[in-house]
């Protein structure tokens, strides 16, 4: 016990600790029954949307590629079900924008033969580093933690840079969410092999798994397993949001600060989420594309908070039904966690690669509080993990002082929402900061042109 307490690291500056409400932590991952129809968005990742390579009426199998990566920062998309392409249509997705989706009417469960569906653990890694990167690209692996950054890009270390550490993100610092937690409990071996694969691709000998101390069982299981795998260790972390942010996690685990405007590789680190690591294992060892993921379905009034293994493209309504239906008092439905997730406009929206959870918030908690005058309490400054002054950035945004915002490093804001969470006056700090970020981006582009 003392050892554990002794070893609790965290990032040193700012952060908040909202009530955790991990209702679904004890719910083992359940396979969700196949939906009747899936809607697979062609833009589920950061970067260029993929280009559809199937047509309406075409028959598809599970794992068949249906949209191709359209650039270096882009990802392949595979069918998560078998059946017929019913439509390629526009639909509002979890981003709130209208995006193209490939709708497939489900028939049977017919998989591509090349995919190894057996549950056996394949420990031996028989392919070369560059082929690993190719495999992640081919199989459409993107970061499953929320940002959905294509994994092959992160694995391609730029010339002149060197990775020293692979850091696995098992922090899951968003309240309510438990998808990564369950995965670490149930698929620890696969995650370990996945880590070995990533280490090989990056040519590093050290891998540290960061897990917050509110998941003692996961720390236990992962530490036990890590003993059998060379170079992997588990680091227990103090519970502090937003520790799952790459920059905060790197600071907490190896005490290095990613420079402003820089990337983790600038300090020798590459961070992958544990869910992504599991997907990499599946892609490399089992030839299985990213076509399903673990999604937490939870909320205070949800009758059966659950963790589901869900095929990509499944409408959220199906998950809600499986968890006991939409509660009477529902006020808001969020894709992701309560701190950074997006509020959804309907339950028809499909699960995408980055959908880590669906959170149902009761009516009485779903509205924002009345905005009052800034009482200059400085709480927003105190909790900002990036060392920004949110109250000031908001004022600059309101007054259209974007040059000043840029100087005060508005672009460093990781949009964690800690400042808004803490503000006693309910000020919409982040809304203004987001606006300023967009404006500063435009200004920078203009400047680059001239």
């Amino acid at each position: 016990m003392f050892r554990l307490f002794d070893s609790l690291k965290t990032f040193p500056k700012g952060g908040v600790h909202p009530p955790e409400n991990k209702f679904s932590a004890g719910a083992a991952i359940e396979e969700l029954p196949l939906p009747k129809m899936v809607h697979i968005p062609i833009s589920q990742h950061i970067g260029a949307p993929s280009e559809p390579v199937v047509e309406r009426g075409e028959a598809v199998k599970v794992g068949q590629i249906i949209a191709k990566s359209a650039g270096f920062v882009s990802a392949n998309i595979h069918s998560s079900v078998s059946g017929k392409v019913a439509k390629i249509q526009n639909m509002i997705d979890s981003s709130g924008f209208v995006r193209t989706v490939i709708s497939v009417r489900v028939k049977g469960d017919d998989w591509e033969e090349s995919i190894d569906r057996s549950p056996d653990l394949v420990k031996e890694i028989s392919i070369e580093a560059k082929d690993i990167i190719q495999k992640t690209l081919d199989n459409g692996i993107v970061g499953l933690g929320g940002a959905a950054f294509p994994s092959h890009v992160k694995l391609s270390v730029p010339r002149g840079k060197k990775a020293e550490y692979l850091i696995l993100n098992g922090v899951e610092c968003e309240p309510y969410l438990t998808a990564d937690h369950r995965l670490m409990l149930e698929k620890a071996d696969e995650i370990m092999v996945g880590a070995q694969i990533l280490m090989k691709a990056l040519d590093v000998t050290k891998c540290i798994v960061g897990i917050e101390n509110n998941k003692l069982d996961a720390i236990e299981v992962m530490s036990q397993k890590a003993k059998d795998y060379e170079g992997i260790s588990v680091q227990a972390l103090k519970v502090q949001y937003p520790q799952g942010g790459e920059k905060q996690l790197i600071k907490a685990v190896i005490n290095r600060e990613v420079p402003s405007g820089g990337l983790p590789i600038d300090v020798g680190a590459v961070v992958h989420n544990v869910g992504t690591t599991y997907a990499v294992y599946q892609a490399v060892q089992k030839n299985k594309p990213l076509l399903e993921r673990v999604v937490t379905l939870t909320g205070k009034s949800v009758s059966k908070p659950s963790n589901f293994m869900v095929r990509i493209g499944t409408p959220i309504s199906e998950l809600i039904e499986a968890a006991g239906g939409l509660p009477e008092d529902t006020g808001k439905i969020i894709s992701g966690g309560p701190m950074m997730g997006k509020a959804l406009t309907s339950t028809d929206i499909p699960v995408a690669k980055a959908t880590s959870g669906v959170l149902i918030i009761p009516e009485n908690e779903s509205r924002r509080g009345v905005v009052e005058a800034c009482i200059r309490c400085s709480k927003c400054v105190g909790v900002c993990p990036m060392g920004l002054e949110p109250y000031l950035l908001m004022t600059q945004g309101e007054k259209a002082m974007f040059e000043e915002s840029e100087n005060d490093r508005v672009m460093d804001c990781i949009e964690c929402g800690s400042c808004v969470y803490e503000c006693p006056s309910n000020r919409p700090l982040l809304d203004w900061i987001r606006l300023s970020k967009v404006k500063v981006n435009t200004i920078r582009k203009e400047r680059a042109k001239n």
């Binding site: 500056k13 909202p18 709130g96 920059k247 600060e257 990613v258 420079p259 402003s260 405007g261 820089g262 600038d266 939409l326 529902t330 006020g331 808001k332 969020i334 309560p338 701190m339 950074m340 997730g341 997006k342 509020a343 959804l344 406009t345 309907s346 339950t347 028809d348 959170l359 918030i361 908690e365 779903s366 509205r367 509080g369 009052e372 005058a373 800034c374 009482i375 200059r376 400085s378 400054v381 105190g382 993990p385 990036m386 060392g387 920004l388 002054e389 000031l392 490093r409 460093d412 949009e415 929402g417 808004v420 969470y421 803490e422 006693p424 006056s425 309910n426 982040l430 809304d431 920078r444």
Partner: protein, 333 residues
């Protein structure tokens, strides 16, 4: 089910539930122990002064906001009540009602609302009121009722505060050790058994309030503890150099309005800096100026002036003292 209207707003979707008024009333709760000691010591006078001051402050806030500024008064946010209590805590408990009325008008009208109200005033309103009264009514403002003398009388016998006794004595050529004989013990100061302004006399009661505000995360340690530290450091140096001319550090920590000022007035959100570093600089300034006034100034007590002076530096501190930032800059863009 599908017709249900959902709320859509941007993240974050949860919020801690300490609002402005809960913070303000939290400060009021933190002042209860000091008020209780005051009532124990000064009797009905303490209740009378505090009640009048709070009532006047709320009244002026309401009238000025409604009829002069023509806005909706938000008197229930607790900020006017805090100003009222603090003003009362800073004056003798036998102050005539009409002086309190003037103090409240100056505090709320000039100190707060003339700058635009909550969040915009550069100086702590209660201190603006107090210093105005101190300059305008020096006699009434410096005749304190003796502690514990009469529970019911408003016009009891008056006496000097320990700092006042010390200052006058030193001026007459007495030494600290001679004067300490006439002054209550350190333990008395700690519990609050001496003369002084209504709410400033018991260090223990004020520290209880501090503990409560720290526990409730209403304030952080930076300002009060840095002031304590600075006062201790400066008074220790002087005391060690010449203990016959300068009183000991604990005496300085426990007497006068130091605790009240450091805990409840220097920490006022609106008039204190926004960053931890800024708070520390500000607090060192307060401690330093307080001690300089106590040692070399013409007033026995200096914390009110010290806070007001440092209030004036806050915009500068906010502008130039930035929080410790994450990540050094590599390139622009």
């Amino acid at each position: 089910m599908s017709t249900k209207l959902l709320t859509v707003s941007s993240s974050p979707h949860i919020h801690q539930n300490q609002g402005v008024s809960s913070i303000m009333w939290g400060v009021v709760i933190a002042m209860i122990p000091a008020f209780a000691v005051s009532v124990y010591n000064f009797g009905v006078g303490a209740v009378y002064v505090t009640a009048l001051s709070v009532a006047f402050c709320i009244m002026f806030e309401y009238l000025i906001v409604k009829y002069l500024l023509k806005k909706t008064p938000t008197i229930m946010d607790g900020s006017a009540a805090i100003t009222g209590v603090l003003l009362a805590f800073n004056v003798p408990s036998n102050l005539p009602w009409w002086i309190i009325l003037i103090g409240a008008l100056v505090a709320i009208g000039i100190g707060k609302l003339s700058f635009g109200g909550l969040g915009n005033n550069p100086f702590n309103p209660a201190l603006v009121g107090r210093v105005f009264l101190l300059i305008s009514f020096p006699v009434q403002m410096t005749s304190w009722p003796k502690a514990g003398e009469s529970l019911l009388a408003i016009d009891g016998e008056t006496g000097a505060t320990p700092l006042g006794l010390l200052k006058d004595g030193l001026k007459n050529g007495d030494s600290v050790s001679q004067l300490m004989g006439e002054i209550p013990s350190h333990l008395d100061f700690f519990f609050g058994l001496q003369g002084g302004s209504t709410g400033e006399i018991s260090a223990l009661a004020l520290l209880l309030g501090l503990g409560y505000m720290l526990y409730k995360k209403i304030i952080t340690w930076h300002i009060p503890f840095t002031i304590f530290g600075t006062v201790l450091a400066i008074s220790t140096v002087f005391w060690m150099v010449n203990p016959e001319q300068f009183a000991d550090p604990i005496f300085h920590l426990l007497t006068g309005g130091l605790m009240l000022g450091a805990i409840f007035m220097a920490t006022d959100y609106v008039t204190s800096p926004m960053t931890a570093k800024g708070m520390i600089i500000y607090a060192i300034g307060i401690g330093f100026i307080t001690m300089m006034i106590r040692f070399f100034g013409s007033y026995p007590e200096g914390i009110s002036f010290a806070i007001l002076i440092m209030n004036a530096f806050v915009p500068l501190l906010n502008k130039y003292v930035k929080p410790a930032r994450f990540g050094k800059e590599v390139k622009n863009g």
